[in-house]
Structure formats: structure tokens, C-alpha cells
């Protein structure tokens, strides 16, 4: 019986990433909690900062200001290794509590618009993280900018993750 009931969650709980079109990137994941909880973890900076930056990735989140309301602003500042700090900032275009958050990414000229939706699936939450870039070139460039470095960081992460689970 155990095997039967566990048939699907293995696949469902996995994080999936898809380039949905030339301009769109989508990340999906199922969480074992109702939308209001998952939403809270995105909307409260003191919770958000605890999971957004993976441990061991060589990146430190220096500050995290988020005013998660329609028209509100956010600003995240990171330090990566010995390199200068990097800031990510923008504003919330639309916030529907427990349902969705839409924000701009303004640190770049041609920034994406990100939409996160929290969909109730029988007490669980299907989270969809959707990025819409202004052009194919902008998405290509975003991928080019981070392509080479990420795998290394993530290899470190792979080594670290088993120890985090304790």
C-alpha cells in the first residue's frame, strides 16, 4: 500500500525547469502545504532570506528589503566571493495574497517580469515561477551571463546538500 500511495509524489515534488518559449522560462514545484503558507514564505523578508540563497553557493545575502504590496519595492544585495556587492531590485506590479506575486527586475536594462503563482491542489500548493523576458535576446543573454558559473557553484552545492539535511 505504501508503494501505491507513493507512486506519484516522487515525480511531483521535483523541481522542473522549462524554457516555454523564446522569451519565457518556467520553474514548477509542488509543496506539501496550503498556498497561504508558501505565500508567507515568499512575502515575509525574514522568511524569504532564509531559503532564497542556497547555503554553500558562495553567495551571501547582505540585505533584503521587501515591501510585498502592489506598487511596493524590493532590493536584495548580495556579496559573491571577493567581488563587489550586487544588487537586485524592482517593484511589485501586482500582489494577490495567497495567490500570486508579480514583480519587475530592474537591475538590467531589459529585465524580465517575474510572476509566481500559488495554486491550491487539495491542500498542497503547485508553485509556478514564470519569467517573461522582453525579447529572445534578453533571455539568451541572461542565460549566457550566468551559464558558466552556475554549474561550479552547484557542484559545491551538491556536496553540501546532504549535510544540510540533518
Amino acid at each position: 500500500m505504501d508503494q501505491q500511495t507513493r507512486n506519484h509524489p516522487v515525480a511531483q515534488n521535483r523541481t522542473a525547469v522549462e524554457r516555454k518559449s523564446d522569451r519565457e522560462l518556467i520553474v514548477t514545484r509542488l509543496f506539501d502545504a496550503p498556498p497561504h503558507m508558501v505565500f508567507r514564505a515568499w512575502a515575509e523578508p525574514e522568511l524569504f532570506r532564509r531559503w532564497w540563497v542556497p547555503e554553500g553557493a558562495g553567495i551571501t545575502l547582505l540585505s533584503c528589503e521587501m515591501d510585498v504590496r502592489t506598487g511596493g519595492k524590493y532590493r536584495l544585495e548580495f556579496a559573491a566571493g571577493e567581488i563587489d556587492t550586487v544588487a537586485f531590485y524592482g517593484k511589485y506590479l501586482a500582489v494577490a495574497p495567497d495567490e500570486s506575486i508579480v514583480w519587475t527586475n530592474e537591475e538590467e536594462g531589459e529585465g524580465a517580469v517575474t510572476t509566481v503563482t500559488f495554486e491550491d491542489q487539495g491542500g498542497k500548493t503547485l508553485l509556478t515561477f514564470h519569467e517573461l523576458y522582453p525579447s529572445k535576446e534578453a533571455l539568451d543573454e541572461a542565460m549566457a551571463g550566468s551559464a558558466a558559473g552556475l554549474p561550479t557553484q552547484l557542484d559545491q552545492l551538491d556536496e553540501l546538500l546532504p549535510t544540510i539535511g540533518e
Binding site: W51, M143, S146, A148, L150
Partner: protein, 119 residues
């Protein structure tokens, strides 16, 4: 984006911006070839073709191997798989985030269970 990463895709795009180099890739997609035969096929000097191949090689789109006096070119794997690799790297990043988020959710659930009975 964060500039602590290497521009491997930039090199790919630069390499692909030239008609001859795209033709060379197409050709190598069918069969490996020596620089001499590529120069013949694209009606250019050996030196000219060497330059094009060098650009493709730097971008990881082509690898070359010298056997005896002949340098053979074949398709590299880097450029072709770069997007797939990026997607996988991105997936790992989000998976790490979401695993951490899972733990926070677990804490929140415990708080709800323990806490607000008298709230």
C-alpha cells in the same frame, strides 16, 4: 546579471555570427573534416580557414585533433549542450532553494500545530 561567470555563450554567439563558420558547423555535423578540406570546400586559404576554426574552437563548438600532419575538426559538445546545461543548473539552484523552503514550511506547520490553540 551577476558578472562572476564566464561568457561561454557569448563566445558561441560571436562564433555563430559568421556565415562561413555556420557553414563549417553544418559541414562538421555531417562528417569530421580536415582544415585543408574545409578550406577547399569554402574556397578560402588555409590560413583563413584556420582562423575561423580557431574562433569555433575557442567557443567550444569545434574540437580539433592533429594526427600526423593533418588537423581534423569535429563538432564540440559545449555550444550545442549549453542551453540544456544551463537549464539543469537553474533547476538545481531552484531545487536547493525549494528544499530549504520545505524546511521553513515544516517549521510553520509545527508552529500552527503547537501555537494558536489559545489564539
Amino acid at each position: 546579471m551577476v558578472q562572476y561567470m564566464m561568457p561561454s555563450l557569448d563566445l558561441s554567439f560571436a562564433a555563430l555570427s559568421d556565415t562561413t563558420r555556420r557553414g563549417v558547423l553544418e559541414q562538421l555535423g555531417r562528417a569530421d573534416a580536415s582544415i585543408t578540406s574545409l578550406a577547399d570546400r569554402f574556397h578560402m586559404t588555409l590560413t583563413g580557414m584556420k582562423k575561423h576554426v580557431a574562433v569555433l574552437e575557442r567557443a567550444g563548438l569545434v574540437v580539433t585533433e592533429k594526427v600526423g600532419r593533418v588537423r581534423t575538426c569535429k563538432l564540440g559538445r559545449c555550444g550545442l549542450e549549453a542551453e540544456a546545461e544551463w537549464i539543469e543548473a537553474h533547476r538545481k539552484l531552484f531545487e536547493a532553494r525549494f528544499d530549504a523552503l520545505d524546511k521553513i514550511i515544516l517549521e510553520m506547520k509545527q508552529e500552527e500545530d503547537d501555537g494558536p490553540a489559545n489564539a
